[in-house]
Amino acid sequence: MKALLRGSITSLLLGAVLVNSASPMAEEATLDSNDENDRSGGYLKIGYGYKYEKTPYHDEKNGASMFLSGRYQFENGIYLEASHGANELSIGNSLGYNFYNTDHWSFDIHGMQAHGGTEMGFGFKKAGEEQAEFEILHMDRKATYMLGLRTTGTYDQTTFQFTIAPYSFNDEYDDGIFATAWVGHSWQLKNWEFHAMAGVNYRSEEIINYYYSTSDELIARNDPQLGAYRANGGFDVVGQVGVSYPVSENILFESYLRFTEVSDEISDSPVMQLFSDLDGRLENVSEFGILFSYVF
């Protein structure tokens, strides 16, 4: 049933592209792209500042940080997006095709990273061999890039964004489903811009189990902390507030505070419980940044 559903969604996505290029709607969209609905163009932002981050995924970060973000859309609708270093709502680089726009909504075929690559190492020593070296077992997983449909709606100062991605380029496991839903609102006070956002990221059980279920090699060690684990699909819940101020025509000051409640399906995983118990780590993700960036 799930395979059928995924197949249908993929067909719908491909169908949307074909319809767009072959029907009168394509003409309308092309006309739109020449007027006020034109989304072509973009920006590149390179920044430097202070970042604090505590997460189960890596050691605490507390200090200077560089970041880069950008978006560029060509006139034919193909776009590139990048987000690295800080204030990342999406992970890494994305590639897509903006195929239809209305006054309030844009529709994209969106290729994105649904989960970053992971490298986990587990050290084992036999009882009574305290002087011996640790035997390290690795549980490394490739990043998952997925293809789906994204729509973004703007109503005055409120923005909505929904993504559903049923097709995975990671051939190490069956396709899962990655979906996101976001709402954000901004307020202007003089030349300061304040924003608040809330969102959820859904990953189906295939994705979560690929990254967070205990590997057979680890289970074979019979360690009571690393038992077998099977997860269901789970939601990460994210909230963020932030502020921006234009220092000059090209220099932007930004500060943000974000909290991510990691899905219980991930947090309850034996491997994640081991990592989140390490010094400098938390079960959830807290992030704070003060950044100055140059905008091209």
Partner: protein
């Protein structure tokens, strides 16, 4: 003997250059005096700052401006802006003035100093809009543009 001739030629050459230098100094001195007199006759209008910077193109921009003007003769002067038909401020029997105000705008604003009698625009300055993201709101389809 050849060497001596060259030396003489060199000496003559130097003297000619000194004479030319004196001429240029004289011309420069006269020109500078002329420019100074002309500057004193000019009406000036200084605007600070000259730019209003907003994050997104199309959003309102807020800036506290200061305008200072100086004219040669005392008289009746008024300061106008392109945002309104009424003058921002008028002065009587003076040749200088100052004006401060918060400007809220989406577009460039032109300030003009006008003389009442004889009526006419003496000088103008433009407050220019600048944006970090120089696109319309629709182009900000990226979520990250908040």
């Amino acid at each position: 003997m050849k060497l001596s001739v060259r030396m003489n030629q060199y000496t003559v050459s130097i003297q000619q250059q000194k004479a030319a230098l004196r001429l240029w100094f004289t011309i420069g001195f006269i020109a500078l005096n002329f420019v100074t007199v002309a500057a004193a006759n000019e009406t000036t209008l200084n605007l600070k700052p000259a730019q209003c910077i907003a994050i997104h193109q199309g959003k309102m921009c807020y800036v506290d401006i200061e305008l200072q003007w100086q004219a040669q003769d005392k008289g009746e002067y008024c300061l106008y802006s392109s945002q309104q038909t009424e003058p921002l401020k008028c002065w009587r029997q003076t040749n200088h003035g100052q004006f401060e105000r918060e400007i809220v705008t989406r577009h460039n604003v032109i300030f003009q100093l006008r003389q009442e009698k004889p009526a006419g625009v003496l000088i103008s300055k433009e407050l220019e809009m600048a944006w970090v993201y120089k696109r319309n709101a629709k182009a900000r389809s990226s979520w990250r543009m908040f």
